[in-house]
């Protein structure tokens, strides 16, 4: 569905179900140059198992209008604005990569509204190399090639986003190209990387969150290595940590195990 948030059209995938105010709600936030579809194999399940799911394309990404957020804080504001627009009081927040920083920051601003927080593929700080930042502007195809190279752990995958026969590196690359092409006026690639690189509020933010937090980390993650989450995990009194033997794109490389982790977490 398309709703107007902060004066711009925002696309929100709902897992094939109509929003029902009587049900609890999960909100999934994607990473840099991705869109809602990276959550397909988790969000659709929950939408058919008693939950509302809201999976937006971030502003300036694919079907959503406006400029892409150039800071984690700006993205967090758009997420909270979405909840306010839809009059949702309580939420389970789930984010991946850039989206995990957004979820963390948003949760820290409204700790009384967040029941659970799941952070996938997170590292803090989430530094982005100068070379990649520059390539995202001057040579985006090369930057996409590099991100693809570092996002997957191997040459094989279980049945995934398109079912059996999905070639994940190709799928990820095609999605990045599509999202980049969707916004000729702005560069969501550079904006997202810049937001990740400059974000310095993670340590404070996690201190303000008082709900249960799940970290889902890939042992083979070369984009945000699992050890990069340690500083955050150490600050959480009883963090739950799920380590999976895959790379950065956990949701597509290990769809069932991510789903199972989230199911257990929100039970």
């Amino acid at each position: 569905m398309i709703i107007t948030v902060q004066g711009e059209p925002l696309y929100v995938y709902t897992g094939g179900r109509i929003f029902d105010a009587a049900k609890p709600t999960m909100l999934f936030i994607h990473g840099v140059l991705n869109d809602h579809s990276v959550w397909g194999l988790q969000s659709r399940y929950f939408a058919h198992h008693g939950w509302n799911v809201l999976v937006p394309d971030l502003p300036g990404h694919n079907r959503s209008g406006g400029a892409p957020p150039d800071s984690v804080e700006a993205a967090a504001r758009s997420v909270i604005a979405l909840l306010d627009t839809m009059q949702i009081d309580r939420i389970v927040l789930i984010g991946h990569s850039f989206g995990s920083l957004i979820a963390l920051e948003a949760a820290s601003w409204m700790p009384d509204r967040v029941d659970r927080l799941a952070l996938l593929g997170i590292a803090y700080p989430m530094r982005v190399s100068e070379a990649l930042l520059e390539a995202s502007v001057k040579a985006p195809e090369e930057a996409i090639r590099l991100v693809t190279r570092f996002s997957y752990s191997g040459l094989t995958a279980p049945p995934s986003a398109l079912g059996p026969g999905t070639w994940l590196p190709g799928l990820g690359r095609a999605l990045m190209r599509r999202v980049l092409a969707s916004n000729p006026d702005h560069n969501p690639f550079y904006a997202g990387f810049l937001a990740c690189d400059r974000y310095d509020g993670g340590a404070k933010a996690i201190g303000r969150v008082d709900c249960p937090i799940l970290f889902v980390l890939g042992d083979e993650d070369q984009m945000t290595p699992a050890k990069g989450a340690k500083a955050l995990i150490d600050q959480v009194h009883s963090a739950q940590v799920l380590r999976l033997p895959v790379g950065h794109q956990l949701m597509s490389e290990a769809p069932d195990r991510v789903l199972e982790g989230l199911r257990s977490f929100v039970k």
Partner: protein
Amino acid sequence: MESLVGFDTLALHAGASPDSATGARAVPLYLSTSFVFESSDHAAALFNLEQAGHVYSRISNPTNAVLEQRIAALEGGIGAIATASGQAALHLAISTLMGAGGHIVASTALYGGSHNLLDYTLRRFGIETSFVAPHDHAAWQAAVRPNTRLFFGETLGNPGLDVLDIAVVSAIAHDAGVPLLVDSTMTTPWLMKPFELGADLIVHSATKFLSGHGTVVGGLLVDAGSFDWERSGRFGELTEAYPGFHGMVFSEENTVGAFLLRARREGLRDFGACMSPHTAWLILQGIETLPLRMARHVSNARAIVDFLATHPMVERVGHPSRPDHRSYELAQRLLPRGAGSVFSFDLRGTREQGKAFVENLQIFSHLANVGDCRSLVIHPASTTHFRMDDAALYAAGIGPGSIRLSIGLEDPEDLVQDLKRALKAAQRAGASGASGALSGTSS
């Protein structure tokens, strides 16, 4: 990871790792029609695409899935679907994108079976095709109608070997809001990567070079994930709720994978032209050596082309590596590794001489296939393209008397000797006074 490894490594490893249950290193063959659900909830989730997995081998199978990932990796696509034959792959692509009232713009230089499907069979089901010469770019543009849904051509047009200028034709297709589908059977991803040139979808007859051993019939349909179905506005099949599958809007479920989602959940499910896992397994054995075989195919073809081009019994050799071929320049640019190993030549002489030539070959086998590891020979006008009249044959780049060769992996010296012997027999047959010009005979 993908760009860490090269083509040859992908040909061996993409989609497969040692079997987690047994440690088997080679790809296991899963000859099972169906797969046990973990629970009722798991079953429902699989049927509703909440989770991904195997249900029934008409829709998917673990062995087939390895093949599908492997060809997608080699082509640079997002995924693939294995089908019962190349023709089944072509039909699956078309039936996913249109129904009655749809229109296709297609190259004239097509495999006879594809031409038949488009020009006769699909018309019966309300899908029309306009045929245009592959190099006539204005004709591609002019043929577009409001109901056009697809452009279709072959990378190396069968059997005249017209090279399709994919960058130009795909740009015309995209301006018209439709995708370009190419049949890449003759080139395989080792000779050409159509997605890098602008194609959106690829079909293969895996029966040919991909399997390479002449043992199985199979097809593959690969999606680049590049075509924006929503922006086009012509493909309600992919962008509107589909009552036949839980009201799913495929383009919302997956931004770049809508085509494959629907093709598997509708076309493969309902038409049922799936690939046997045993076939998939055999094709995988072939793909593992594809780079080695293709290199040998094209080097052998070069040797045979050079031999025939200087032989006094040969009127013309129709291979794009020859400067007199109309696709010579395109081939130099788009096919630097070689312009394939299937080509036609015209014999100088009579019909009886042609017959003597074919019958005196000992290593070349006279049969209706190409892309085998063994060398093959056939007379297209009387076999694969027999439904075409002379004008259509010429439009496809062959003469009524052309002979088609598919060069295999034998020692090139032996192939040359075989051809020499047969050409000599043809020469002798001419001396005995047979009548009737071979080039000009329509059967």
